[in-house]
């Protein structure tokens, strides 16, 4: 089985995610970009899992855990974003610099 294509896809997706995290201003989009990164991780894990072919299917199991944890994190993240939107009427992350230096 050829694993390289999957890895290239994963790496691309990860890079797009990083780009989004660094550049998008809206907090929700930043969160989504992080989800992209996690999706890239899942692609990697599943591809490797199939490639390595271990009896315990650790790659697939790992991917399931990542999906679960990611869902929980998004829950937390959106809660925080909602809070900020309520207090500031804006969810732009680059306006948050009350604390610096």
């Amino acid at each position: 089985m050829i694993v390289n294509q999957f890895l290239v896809l994963g790496a691309l997706l990860f890079s797009i995610g990083v780009y989004g995290v660094l550049v998008r201003r809206n907090a929700v989009l930043v969160l989504l970009s992080i989800e992209l990164m996690l999706a890239a991780v899942n692609i990697n894990l599943v591809a490797f899992g199939a490639f390595v072919d271990d009896a315990a299917a650790a790659g697939q199991v790992f991917a399931l855990f990542v999906i679960t944890v990611a869902a929980a994190e998004v829950g937390i993240g959106l809660a925080i974003v909602v809070l900020i939107f309520r207090n500031r009427s804006s969810a732009n992350v680059d306006e948050l610099d009350l604390m610096k230096w």
């Binding site: 990083v18 660094l22 680059d94």
Partner: protein
């Protein structure tokens, strides 16, 4: 072993108590030695007692401090007599805790102990006796101070810390004592902390010492790890046996320890804290300059002396020591010439005398260096107390506010003159004997392998004798002669302050007699009673040529001072008189000193040497302390406005000024923008990967 310590030892893990008797005096002397742990403990206990109950006592805690220091003095003198009769060198160790078999490092054993030998007894005596007089005097001086009780608690801590240091048979305990002294000095220098400058001075002292302490720590860790034990005796044993592992690291260890010593003993370029430390109450200056704190560095070198003296060990450091000492003794002596503050004159004088001691140690003159420490303790303690008495009388430190005080303050005047003569090295006062021994040792060293450096320093030291006498003569004339220029009516200090002056004056006269070449050698014998005495410690005969030369220089200095400052000492006129080349016929160096003085005080363009000395002192050397970090930025600040220190909270930024610049730059990275943080995080990850792939 005493019952109390027995309990203590049992309570501690693996408690064991080692007695390392090298020369057991036996009998009463042995008993004295085994109870000598009381010497550091009593002042420390007194500290706590003063803090706890001091305010409720009739003399607000002073009596506890005085009692504890008197105890130390009596005990130390008893030990001194015992040691005189039969030399002793006893070490006691109590294991406090041990951590077994740290991998690769062996056992870490923390011990407490005390060493009773000639060197430590000499230091006990100095701290105890000078301390006793200073504590007595301080009762009068500090009368009515808002923090009278706290002052004496700190004062006891100061003495106690020094005694812990001196009694330490292992390097860890030595560091503990070293730090206690540092902390206590910080409290005392900043005693009047309402005044911002005092704070600044206190913190400057603390930080400068801390910087140098890094050297001490590094040295101690190197030695401890190499030898596998922090006991000084084990280290010196390894040195004596020519242990090859120790020989490999000896140079760096020796250098690192000496850097630590330079901090405490205020050698260039770490001397900057000492003049500022004058901000503390005068008794503090007196104790600090005479007995505790600044002597610690010289003591450390003395304690580790075999390390520096044994060929193949750290003997290469000696040339550094001798040159640092030589530079310090002359350059700081010159600065003393141009000070208007009486305490600053004495402070720079101490620096200069510490330079003598250091130079002697570097020249391999163990006895001479410590002998000067011993005699200096008495007359410098005296001079500070007398200066304090003057300040107490006229409420000013500035000598231009004084003059003519000999009529108002006869006791102070007489004792100050005795101290000055002793410091100048006039026969037969204490300073004569010790300074002559240093000169003789330097000359001996110059002939015996010390080479050009020793010769150079010998000439610096001889020149220093002239300078010493000159600035002391100046101080005496400006303070006690001429017309009184201050405000109010000066008055002699109360009895509680004058009798310590006379006590110390007596010692300043006789202290030198313990080691008159050819006549008595008691001091040499005291110091020789320790386990490791190495090499040639120069119990030299009186070197007549140098004695005469040294005395002539001192008399010359006094004569020059008299010519310049006697009689009319109204400041402006005095400065004008300096323009007349009076010194020219007397000394070849007239031009040099004349301009040094002019430039130091008035600061015109001429006289590059004086400017260089002052500039170096205030700019470059302060800068060394300040200048971790943004050196370039600092250099420009020094050039454009070193005097402009308004904006800088020196108190805080002593170490931080340099690093602070860097800090200001670095903190800009903390932009507050979370995406930039994320970018930094990701960039860090990528750079690590790329860096590893390229360089790994």
């Amino acid at each position: 072993m005493t019952p109390l310590l027995h309990l203590f030892a049992l309570a501690s893990e693996g408690g064991e108590h080692g007695l390392d008797v090298v020369t057991d005096p036996g009998g009463f002397a042995g008993l004295l030695a085994s109870w000598a742990w009381l010497i550091p403990v009593v002042p420390l206990v007194a500290t706590f007692a003063i803090v706890l109950v001091g305010k409720r006592l009739p003399w607000k805690g002073w009596e506890l401090a005085e009692g504890s220091i008197a105890f130390v003095a009596v005990y130390a003198v008893a030990l001194l007599i015992a040691n005189w009769q039969a030399p002793m060198a006893v070490e006691h160790h109590v294991t406090l805790s041990r951590i077994d078999s740290l991998p690769g490092l062996g056992d870490l054993v923390l011990e407490w102990g005390w060493v009773v030998d000639g060197l430590s007894i000499m230091m006990f005596t100095v701290v105890g006796v000078v301390g006793f007089f200073v504590f007595t005097y301080a009762k009068g001086y500090m009368e009515g101070d808002v923090r009278f009780t706290f002052f004496f608690a700190s004062f006891s801590l100061f003495a106690g810390g020094m005694l812990v240091l001196v009694a330490a048979p292992n390097l860890i305990q030595l560091i503990v004592g070293w730090e206690l002294v540092g902390v206590a000095s910080y409290l005392l220098i900043g005693h009047w902390w309402e005044d911002h400058d005092n704070n600044a001075a206190a913190i400057k002292a603390f930080i400068t010492n801390k910087v140098a302490d890094v050297g001490l720590f590094v040295g101690v860790i190197i030695l401890g790890i190499t030898v596998g034990s922090f006991r000084i005796s084990d280290v010196l044993d390894a040195v004596a046996h020519g242990d090859s592992a120790v020989a490999q690291v000896a140079f760096w260890a020796g250098l690192a320890l000496f850097i630590g010593a330079m901090g405490k003993s205020a050698q260039m370029p770490f001397h900057v804290w000492l003049p500022d430390a004058m901000a503390g109450p005068t008794p503090v200056s007196s104790l600090m300059h005479a007995a505790t704190m600044v002597t610690a560095g010289v003591y450390l070198v003395g304690r580790m002396f075999p390390l520096y003296q044994t060929p193949g060990m750290a003997d290469d450091v000696k040339i550094i020591i001798v040159l640092v000492g030589g530079a310090t003794l002359l350059l700081t002596g010159l600065i003393a010439l141009v000070q208007d503050d009486i305490k600053k004159v004495l402070a720079y004088s101490t620096l200069s005398q510490l330079g003598y001691m250091t130079a002697a140690m570097g020249a391999g003159a163990y006895t001479a260096g410590l002998f000067h420490l011993f005699t200096h303790a008495f007359f410098k303690g005296l001079l500070f107390l007398a200066a304090g008495s003057v300040i107490h009388g006229v409420h000013s430190n500035d000598m231009s506010d004084m003059g003519g005080l000999r009529r108002f303050m006869p006791s102070t005047y007489r004792t100050f003159v005795i101290g000055s003569l002793a410091l100048a090295g006039i026969f037969p006062l204490a300073g004569f004997w010790s300074k002559d021994e240093i000169l003789a040792s330097l000359s001996h060293d110059a002939g015996a392998g010390g080479g050009a450096a020793a010769t150079l320093v010998l000439w610096l030291a001889i020149l220093g004798a002239f300078v010493t006498a000159f600035y002391m003569a100046r101080a005496v004339y400006l303070t006690f002669f001429g017309e009184y220029k201050g405000e109010g009516h000066p008055h002699e200090s109360p009895r509680v302050m004058t009798w310590p002056l006379w006590g110390l004056a007596g010692l300043a006269v006789v202290a030198g007699f313990v080691n008159m070449p050819g006549l008595t050698s008691s001091f040499t014998d005291w110091l020789a009673s320790r386990v490791h005495v190495m090499g040639d410690h120069h119990a030299t005969a009186l070197n007549w040529g140098l004695a005469v030369l040294g005395t002539a220089m001192a008399l010359g200095g006094i004569a020059a001072g008299t010519r310049l400052f006697h009689r009319d000492a109204a400041t402006q006129q005095e400065r004008d008189r300096l323009r007349i080349p009076v010194l020219y016929p007397l000394l070849e160096q007239k031009y040099y000193f004349d301009h040094l003085y002019m430039n130091g005080v008035v600061g015109p363009i001429k006289g590059p040497i004086a400017r260089f000395v002052v500039w170096t002192n205030q700019v470059v050397l302060d800068g060394v302390v300040h200048a971790f970090g943004a050196a370039a930025r600092l250099a420009s600040r020094f050039v454009y406005g070193w005097a402009d220190q308004r904006g800088i909270d020196l108190a805080i930024n002593a170490a931080a000024a340099g690093t602070g610049e860097a800090g200001s730059v670095v903190r800009r990275a903390q932009t507050g923008k979370v995406q930039q943080y994320a970018g930094a995080l990701f960039a860090g990850a990528v750079l690590l990967v790329v860096g590893f792939l390229i360089f790994g």
